[in-house]
Symmetry: C2
Subunit: 199 residues, 2 copies
DNA sequence: ATTGTACTAGAACGATCGTTCCACTACAAT
DNA sequence: ATTGTAGTGGAACGATCGTTCTAGTACAAT
């Protein structure tokens, strides 16, 4: 799996401050010298892990949202994949590496903070595109409404990831996803507003 | 403000692992000996801080949800109070002490984990009671639906607290609350389902 | 065969950690 | 006036931290 992958897993599970270089040496199988020849510091390695996390963990599972014609179904596919992970993978109980990180940001660590902000901005932008596509069929919502809905999804999914770290089985998470998706559909797929007004 | 209050603030802002005993001495104004005469360890102090947090931070602002006839309005009042805090207080940017903590739980720290689980169980139970009261006027939802809705609120509010740590102004949080409350109302206050079926 | 590269295990560095201890002070109770 | 209590500032403890360094090994390229 490699240095980066194993380091990512370790940070993901325990958090930056809890993980020591000794832990990393043990979990990655790479010596101290080997780690420091590739990364200048524990923090630099951690930043690389965040990038790696977005590439190998988030990107594949998030891909359905980023398709041109994603719509609510794209978001549904994403959430289904998340729930499957929670059920079948060893990833259950870890939450989201990025989401975990910003609850333990040291003051003044603006580089990490900016990294995280950009991460969430990309998610929200993708949600916005997906929902905008869905909305384009009947234009029930204004663009501002779609943006608001996209932020709603970002924050809700943050809650979902967080909570997945705490609970033991995924049924409550599954129910949460169903309700979230029903909410999106009720906003986007219901009878267009104009019909309500003119009838 | 006292030892407990200042220690709580410090842990809240930076997280358990980042805060050192030296930080606590500086921030609380109490000497090392003074702290250790009251609490057996840093961890014991932290646990006391979580209890103190629930008492002095959560309980007052959460009270409207726990009233007998809370309903969705009780939850609205709670969320409004949260948003006001985010806007006016120095608490902005800290998130929730409990929510922050479980993203950085060390493996095997079951005592803290149980503390956190109980915290969220109490929130969900209160939401359930509040929503059950609202539902009692028309019994639109089953008891199981009300439970599901209560979990939905718990997870959503977790997302809200988390995200409050990241964003700079509260407008996106305010919008989130409005949408969440509208969702609750649409489930509880709409025309009873039986009407849809018989008409 | 030699050189260079990449890596290893682990010693060692200074710093800081949580914790304990000590001598001392302030002050209320007797 | 004496005692007891509670707390102070700060030294000191062993442990562990992130980081650097050294000596040695494996192996591909020349």
């Amino acid at each position: 799996m490699g240095l980066l992958g194993n380091a990512m897993k370790t940070f993901w599970k325990f958090g930056f401050h809890v993980v020591s270089m000794g832990d990393l040496v043990r979990e990655t199988g790479v010596s101290r010298g080997g780690i420091y020849s590739d990364y200048s510091s524990k923090r630099a390695l951690f930043h690389a892990c965040i990038d790696h996390y977005e590439d190998v963990v988030i990107k594949p599972v998030f891909a359905p949202v980023e398709e041109a014609a994603a719509g609510v179904e794209g978001i549904r596919t994403y959430l289904e994949a998340l729930l499957t992970r929670f059920d079948t993978n060893q990833n259950f109980g870890r939450g989201c590496l990025v989401g975990n990180t910003f609850t333990q940001l040291a003051e003044g660590d603006d580089e990490t903070r900016q990294k995280i902000l950009r991460f969430y901005a990309r998610r929200t932008c993708s949600y916005s595109n997906a929902l905008s596509y869905e909305n384009s069929s009947n234009n029930r919502l204004t663009e501002a409404d779609v943006e608001g809905l996209a932020s709603y999804v970002t924050i809700s999914v943050q809650g979902l990831w967080s909570y997945s770290r705490l609970v033991q089985d995924s049924s409550v998470l599954r129910q949460y996803c169903d309700m979230l998706l029903a909410y999106l559909e009720s906003h986007l797929r219901g009878t267009p507003r104009s019909n309500y007004r003119t009838v």
